[in-house]
Symmetry: C2
DNA sequence: TTGACATATTCCCATATAAGTATGTATTGT
DNA sequence: ACAATACATACTTATATGGGAATATGTCAA
């Protein structure tokens, strides 16, 4: 079985760097396709195809106006991603603490005058 | 050109659902490969290959002990993902506000007695 | 109507999977 | 030394990809 289709979910869609660029570009303001093409220097058909993928997973929305199509990113659709990554937050905080503690321990061994910052135990 | 290799970065690595499962499973406690195989019901070679990918992008770490290899997720490597998604937070908050305001507006039109909660403008 | 402009789609291709199967490599216990 | 255990890798295969080129669709303007 090959990799899951990019159209299957937001995780797959944002795996492509160009699409992340497009999402960032379309986050603050809706833009016609041509703007994306010139600003990000991507071939027009390529942009259309990326937009297609993003649209299929709900990461962007379109508003048609004459012969222009204004795209904008639907930030809501990025939330699940943010939340999934967020479930690991306490783990990396814990890891950082461990690293810090080990470093301080080592410092104390090498230089007994060394004291960690946070607890601020000894004051003259 | 196909999609970027899964080994290129964290974004591509977590695009695969199985790998996300593995990362969650290995987040709180290091585990030997066999545990992943039985707990998540994935064939052993498949697990090894997923772990290989995750290891190459730094999403997991290994500790060897005899014929066992204990894997654990390196939460630090998930942070960039969380931060990237986080850059859209203000946009989805803004979008939610807009939706809420439009809804309230419509309610006011239909029922003049209706008043929004938050601003709490009119008090007798 | 006709042509210019803005986007979308189609086709082709080189490449990267992910699953399944079989095999390789350590390491341990006896 | 040998068999068993725990993983890793190699190989095959069906399929999804993204870029490039060509073409189609849709809309406006003269």
């Amino acid at each position: 079985m090959p990799r899951a289709a990019t159209t299957s979910d937001a995780f797959n869609a944002v795996a492509e760097p160009r699409r992340r660029e497009i999402l960032s570009y379309l986050a603050m303001k809706e833009r016609p396709v041509g703007d994306i093409v010139t600003t990000l220097s991507i071939d027009q058909p390529s942009v259309s195809k990326h937009l297609r993928v993003l649209r299929d997973v709900g990461l962007v929305r379109v508003r048609c106006d004459g012969r222009h199509k204004y795209y904008r990113t639907n930030a809501e659709a990025i939330r699940p991603l943010h939340e999934w990554a967020g479930t690991f937050e306490r783990f990396w905080q814990h890891q950082l603490l461990s690293v810090k503690r080990r470093a301080e321990e080592k410092m104390s061994q090498l230089n007994p005058n060394f004291a960690p910052h946070s607890p601020e135990k000894e004051k003259p």
